[in-house]
């Protein structure tokens, strides 16, 4: 009885080919933006697990901290500044895209990319001059685990920025087509913000 009150099933065996109906947009949030935000939640939890390792090894089993003869706080501090300024240039790129300022967009994305690359370069250089390796101790493992995990995220971020850059230089990004820039941008801001947390817990505390 209840089912009978429903209009007869609409069905057809796909005899004619046409595209799908346009989905109803049931939320004001854009799906790509929501997707990357959820992914960032996952990423935060991944870092969270490494912070748990940090907590257990530094606090619970009290393996000596810092590993080695002190960490190069100044270098890491400079790196912090570099990464933060890359967030600023990233934001500028985003704004330029919305204003359709192609030149500013190009300069912005290249600067952001180069700043990120510099960060990575300094980080690797720091690794080579630390005087300890992951094999030295558990704290050393934690140090490399957390900074290395972050470094890997910088690499992913750079790959995404590279893709945006390619599209920008091909003139494919503008006020109506900027998700391909916005989404990597959000990720990049996350990578930068995460560095502040890593920096504080590893180098400062």
């Amino acid at each position: 009885m209840e089912a009978a009150s429903i209009p007869s099933p609409v069905g057809h065996e796909g005899e004619h080919h046409h595209g799908p109906p346009i989905a109803n947009q049931s939320s004001r949030v854009n799906s790509e933006v929501l997707g990357i935000l959820l992914f960032i939640i996952s990423e935060i939890m991944l870092f969270g697990a490494f912070f748990a390792a940090y907590f257990f090894i530094r606090v619970v089993s009290a393996d000596g901290w810092p590993p080695g003869e002190g960490l190069p706080v100044a270098v890491a501090g400079i790196n912090c500044a570099i990464l933060l300024s890359s967030s600023v240039t990233m934001h500028w790129t985003d704004v330029s895209a919305k204003r359709d300022n192609q030149m500013a967009m190009r300069i912005g994305i290249v600067t952001t990319f180069l700043l990120g690359l510099t960060f990575l370069f300094i980080q690797i250089n720091e690794y080579l001059h630390l005087g300890f390796t992951p094999e030295t101790s558990a704290s050393a493992s934690v140090f490399f685990g957390l900074t290395g995990l972050h470094g890997a995220h910088v690499v992913i971020g750079l790959l995404l920025l590279w893709m945006s850059a390619v599209r920008i230089f091909k003139g494919k990004v503008g006020p109506d087509h900027h998700r391909g820039l916005e989404v990597p941008g959000i990720y990049w801001h996350f990578v930068d913000a995460m560095w502040i947390v890593v920096f504080t817990t590893i180098y400062i505390l």
Partner: protein, 632 residues
Amino acid sequence: MMAAKIRQPGWYRALAFSILGVLVCLGLSTGLRAAFSVDPVYDGESVLQISLLMVPLFFLGGIGCFDYWLRWASGRTVVDDHADHGAKSWRDYFKVNTDHKVIGIQYIVVSFFFMFIGGLMAMLVRAELAAPGRQFVDPNTYNGIFSVHATLLIFLFVIPVFAGIANYVIPLMIGAPDMAFPRLNALSFWMLPVAGVMMLLSFLAPGGSFASGWTAYAPLSVDAPIGQAFFTIAVQFAGASSIATALNFLVTIITMRAPGMTFFRMPLLVWANFSTSLLVVIATPFIAASQFMVILDRALGFNFFNPSGGGDVLMYQHVFWFYSHPAVYIMMLPGFGIISEVLATRARKPVFGYRMMAFSLLAIVLLGFTVWAHHMFVSGMSDWIRIPMMITTAIIAIPTGIKIFSWVATLWRGVLKMDTPMLWATGFIAMFTLGGISGVMLAMVPLDIHVSDTYFIVAHIHYVLFGGSLFTIYAGIYFWFPKMTGRMFNERLGKLHFWLTFIFFNITFAPMHLIGVQGMPRRVSDYAEQFATWNMIISLASFVVGLSTLIFLYNMIVSWRSGPKAGANPWNSLTIEWQVSSPPPIFNFDAIPSVVGGPYEYGVPGAVHAVFDEAEPEPVAVGAGASASEAD
């Protein structure tokens, strides 16, 4: 000819890329070792571990998971012509496809494939345990078999098969033409066979398969032979797959519901997968991290779990269970959703306490993160954590209890049709209640200390995972089988399958409570003489359970090929997926339906959940709207 085949996405290219991948890894390993002057330059284990990580990516690239994105990333204009949407023949199921219905079936079939292999291993375990002493296998092989059994059934069956069912049903249920990210959806699927095959390949590894249980505790897993690396890395692929799907579900459910489909008009299956997806997105990174740390310890000499280097062994268990307790709900909540659908439809009544059902799901999500250390009562962790964890674990039984009572109340005075899906659903309620009760018993620290690592635990996990999750899976498969295939299964065989499984499941697992309390240890291939009789009974019963599965397989295959036509809505259900043809049209709907009422208004005269506009006239230009959408 050959070259053309290799250029196109597909199995030839996948094979070629995989071989290329192995060579690249060989070069990478020897190159790096030479650069850092490690001796010897060639190291088989190093090549193997790098290959386990990288070759799957080459394979995925070869099969065609990345083509669209790479075209996009290279700055070209990409227009989606839906060429890889929908299956025209069975061959299309072996290709990368973006249609959620195809992906759903791919998921389900692959999961069941691994279920049968994992089930076969259970049979081997029971054969070995049929009598005390050694029957067929040495203890190490035995450890390998039960480890792969559990790992396959958890990571390659229960978790993904739910994702498969949800993949098929959810976009239809909420009135969406597809998932939010169809290509990510395809990638999620293709990572699964990669993970499963990797787990199976571990049997070929020198030193045997991984053998430290599905929990892979460190430092055992750090010191184990190379077979362990297959677990460590396969779990990463399975985990990445489930995170990607979960994200996809969340975005789809949030942004693509039909007009009028408010959150409190969503069918409970949608709610259940929404909650599960939250759990996956938040918890799964923890198992990823735990396995990253293991691989770093194993391969690069890190000290995370090396006590002599200052590492913390218990930290593994904390990180692992912070995922794996929520994971038991990842393995149960989607089943809760299935049961709500089946019960309401087959009892012809609204689900009792719809809102409480939704809220209790969210409560379980929240509380699920507060109980992990109930798996660690005997681990040697700080004593003060025990009591809080005992209390939170007891509390989590409340939302679970709410659900059970609501289901029973839904059945109360309903017009029950005890057909196959309904049998599984009611069987589930009974079995899961028993499993929940043994769970709450285990939460009590003194009892848990007594039965830790005994067959009591095995009894509990099988009442919740077999009597719980698997029963819901069967309910769901039988329930949506007509929708997915357009045909009806054989009801008599379905009932036979249920009764055989139900009876012999209980004969198999109920006695385990008893011998567990008496002290028979789990995960050991031999046992004291006093348990011999029960174990023989258990083994015989378990073989019947195994055989009954073949009835299911036979029923599914034969009915799919030549069952009677099912019609659009054989169960007289109100939810949207039943209002389209069986199987549904390639793009689900001609026009998106509008939702005008709750999903379960059974017995309410004239109640409607969704209405369809008269199909619009043929769109003027092919390529209008979404079909020619260009990615930004």
